[in-house]
């Protein structure tokens, strides 16, 4: 309880710090929302008028304070450019990216756990070497290339799956799943290959632990000992990496969103930066930072679930 309170406080402070840093960064960005909106049709007068309408002519600190106060009430503000409330829009996009990242993570785990465990268990055998060679090769493929190849094979050639796009879950669950298969695969394959290296080394080091020998001395079979005693202990280092990889996954998701034309958070962020839609950028970044921090918190909590030694701290 105490832990959660403390962590949540850190989280909130972190999120506000992040948003403030972003705000300051944006202050030095060349170009502004009014200029972008007016494009090649801008006159200095029109830019000034539009800036006033947007509210971007006010001092930066005022803008930030307004935004931060709004946020405290759960209000992300209204987009300068589109006059839409930002909260629902970001939430919408976040949902999409969340599915993508979660699916990617699932694929990654489905690949990494068996591959890592098996290649550790067989680390002296040719099959083990083959598995780790495969995972090495998997890491070396850029995610977008993997995505393009998947599209070519499954969408263009076989026509079995859509080449891109997104259908909301609420609209049509079947289509939703069909549209997520390839993106999640291309996100998960590469991450999975990387993750399997960590699983492998965690399992390898766990295998050397004395309690594994104790388990087998009790009469547990090799695999039973590995599963019952090895894996829970290997989980702690793997969890750490999972938490760290989330950041990588979010970046990967942006590329994959691009390849598969998925209207996710990454796309929104790119767009918001291009439009210089200050508040929208703020909203996206805040959500991203909070997401990463929440995952950190979750890993912390999970550590404690997995490893009783950490509970008493």
């Amino acid at each position: 309880m105490y832990l959660i309170v403390r962590k949540t406080l850190t989280l909130l402070v972190g999120a506000f710090a992040a948003s403030f840093v972003v705000f300051c960064c944006l202050a030095v960005l060349p170009g502004n929302a009014a200029e972008v909106a007016l494009g090649t049709n801008a006159t200095p007068d029109a830019v000034a008028r539009l800036s006033e309408e947007f509210g971007t002519d006010r001092p930066l600190l005022t803008q930030y304070a307004d935004w931060a106060l709004g946020l405290l009430h759960g209000d992300f503000g209204t987009s300068y450019v589109t006059h839409e409330p930002i909260g629902p829009r970001v939430a919408d996009r976040f949902g999409v990216t969340l599915w993508l990242v979660a699916g990617g993570m699932l694929v990654a785990l489905l690949i990494a756990l068996p591959a890592g465990v098996l290649s550790a268990a067989w680390h002296r055998k040719p099959r083990g070497t083959l598995l780790s060679a495969l995972s090495q090769a998997g890491i070396a493929v850029p995610a977008f290339l993997a995505g393009l190849l998947l599209v070519y094979v499954f969408a263009v050639r076989a026509g079995a799956l859509p080449a891109g796009g997104y259908v909301p879950l609420a609209e049509d669950p079947g289509e939703w799943a069909r549209h997520l298969v390839l993106p999640c695969l291309s996100l998960g394959l590469v991450q999975g290959a990387a993750l399997s290296r960590y699983v492998r080394s965690a399992v390898l080091s766990v295998q050397r632990q004395d309690y594994m020998r104790t388990a087998r001395a009790k009469g547990a079979r090799r695999w039973a000992a590995l599963c019952r005693h090895g894996l829970p202990n290997a989980a702690v280092p793997v969890l750490t990496v999972l938490g760290l990889q989330l950041s990588a996954l979010l970046v990967g998701a942006i590329v994959v969103e691009r390849v598969f034309v998925i209207p996710g958070l990454g796309d929104l962020l790119l767009r918001a930066v291009a439009d210089r839609d200050l508040l929208l950028i703020q909203g996206v970044v805040t959500v991203l930072v909070v997401a990463v921090l929440v995952v950190n918190l979750l890993t912390d909590v999970l550590y404690r679930v997995v490893d009783p030694r950490l509970r008493s701290r």
């Binding site: 960005l29 060349p30 170009g31 502004n32 200029e35 972008v36 909106a37 007016l38 494009g39 090649t40 049709n41 801008a42 006159t43 029109a46 008028r49 539009l50 450019v81 589109t82 006059h83 839409e84 829009r89 996009r93 393009l148 599209v151 070519y152 969408a155 263009v156 026509g159 859509p162 080449a163 891109g164 796009g165 997104y166 259908v167 049509d172 289509e175 069909r178 549209h179 691009r258 390849v259 598969f260 034309v261 209207p263 996710g264 796309d267 929104l268 790119l270 767009r271 930066v273 291009a274 439009d275 210089r276």
Partner: protein, 476 residues
């Protein structure tokens, strides 16, 4: 989804690359909004046809007074806005006044020539100009001529209201804009009951979607080298029309070395435009020599082009003492500009000019630094608006081309008798070319890939809208 994408009776899915930020072209610039809405959702009093001629639309007919100062528009009856309100002379007057008073965009200045628009009766509007202008009527075919409902301008950014054959069904930002058939349309009702405009960030992804059957039309092929993927005639048709988008290699006329006409000419002689079109665009596109397109009435064919003559270019550079000048080539980070820039850099190097490519984030940074502040030597961008030769007449435009004689010619062409318009424009454009105000790399093709069974897609991009009213699935 793919279900909606595949041919399903009366629906059409069109893949496009640039998504509009809002649906309000009165306050937001860019080609994407009129492309989606003009002619589909909004209509004007007049429109431009595939050959570039002006035709009546919401005005059944119109008259020009002998002095050229007054246009009288006789409006169609029984036209309704999609919000149910009837289209009347009041709406027309309102729309014209709005442009004059409320629009912030520079295009709205074309309405400045209007002295007043008055309702003659419920179906007739008279517009009086301050001075005769040939261009004004043409401008009325563009977005500034769009007719708004007086009661339908509450939320233009998200809910446009027009008289067109389609209405905005839904808009999933970042994904697609869905147009639905306007059941109460005054004219011939479109066969399609739904058009989805699906926006792709990535041209490759768009091609894949086309190949996978997720979209029926690639609205704009970005990379012509990919056309070979659509060679199967039984599935695909390639539409290669003309557009009004001149890819201009702009030179900053107000700065050294381009303040010297010889250097500007050297650039024009030093670039092998054929090779450029071949390598950068796989030969798709039209070579032009001035700010003109084949659909312009004054189009002069190849006569404004300059031959590739590196020796002469080198000599000109030498004469101007500009050898080895380092040029800032600040281009938008758009694929066609990046491709072309690499070739331009390579070719200029051979005539003694060194260009450093600096891709700038588009639109924000390019607009801010190149377009608004003119902090550049060379740049490359497509100017897609039709009949936009006026941009060279404005000395504050980022070309910083300041030639009163050219501006005068344009003024005369605009204000003079319509039958002399073309000749005067031709002369002006010739002057532009000879003066090497810029270099015209090529005219973008209007390149589309469509399902082989689709008919009625507009071949040329003449006006600002991509109109779907006439599109049909064959065999229906």
């Amino acid at each position: 989804g793919s279900g909606s994408g595949r041919q399903s009776g009366d629906a059409l899915t069109v893949g496009l690359v640039a998504e509009p930020a809002t649906l309000d072209f009165s306050g937001t610039d860019g080609a994407a909004i009129p492309q989606a809405l003009l002619g589909n959702v909004y209509e004007g009093l007049v429109r431009v046809d595939q050959q570039g001629r002006i035709q009546p639309q919401l005005a059944e007919k119109y008259e020009r007074s002998a002095d050229g100062l007054t246009y009288t528009f006789h409006l169609r009856k029984n036209v309704k806005f999609t919000n149910g309100a009837p289209f009347t002379a009041d709406d027309a007057v309102f729309s014209i006044d709005q442009v004059k008073t409320r629009w912030k965009l520079k295009v709205a200045q074309q309405m400045a020539v209007v002295d007043k628009a008055v309702k003659v009766n419920a179906d007739t509007v008279a517009v009086t100009l301050k001075h005769p202008s040939n261009n004004w009527l043409y401008a009325m075919t563009s977005r500034i001529g769009a007719m708004y409902s007086r009661t339908g301008v509450g939320d233009l950014k998200n809910h446009p209201v027009g008289t067109g054959p389609f209405t905005v069904g839904s808009w999933q930002r970042g994904d697609k804009l869905i147009l639905r058939r306007n059941a109460d349309y005054w004219g011939v009702k479109p066969q399609l009951n739904q058009v989805s405009l699906k926006y792709f960030k990535d041209a490759g992804a768009l091609n894949n979607a086309m190949l996978a059957g997720d979209v029926n039309v690639v609205g704009a092929v970005q990379a012509p080298e990919t056309l070979s993927r659509f060679a199967d005639k039984s599935r695909f048709q390639v539409i290669d029309g003309s557009s009004t988008a001149e890819v201009v290699l702009s030179m900053n006329n107000s700065r050294k070395p381009f303040i010297d006409k010889r250097v500007r000419q050297a650039v024009r002689y030093g670039i092998d435009h054929e090779a450029l079109l071949k390598t950068a665009r796989f030969g798709r596109g039209t070579l032009i020599g001035s700010q003109e397109a084949p659909t312009d009435p004054w189009y002069a064919g190849d006569s404004n082009r300059v031959p590739y003559d590196p020796a002469k270019a080198k000599q000109l550079v030498k004469d101007a003492g500009a050898e080895g000048t380092v040029l800032k080539m600040r281009i938008p980070n758009l694929p066609y500009a990046v491709s072309a820039a690499q070739i331009v850099k390579d070719q200029l190097a051979q005539v003694g000019l060194k260009a450093d490519i600096e891709p700038l984030e588009f639109p924000a940074r390019w607009l801010s630094e190149v377009f608004n502040k003119a902090d550049y030597d060379l740049s490359i961008i497509a100017h897609s608006e039709p009949r936009d030769q006026w941009i060279f007449a404005d000395p504050s435009y980022y070309f910083r081309y300041d030639k009163p004689a050219y501006a005068d010619l344009l003024k005369q062409a605009d204000a003079g008798p319509p039958q002399e318009e073309s000749d005067r424009y031709r002369a002006a454009l010739r002057m532009l070319s000879q003066d090497a105000a810029a270099d015209w790399l090529y005219l973008m093709p209007n390149l589309m890939v469509a399902d082989a069974k689709l008919q009625g897609l507009p071949v040329n991009q003449v006006g600002e809208g991509l109109e779907f009213a006439g599109v049909r699935w064959s065999g229906k």
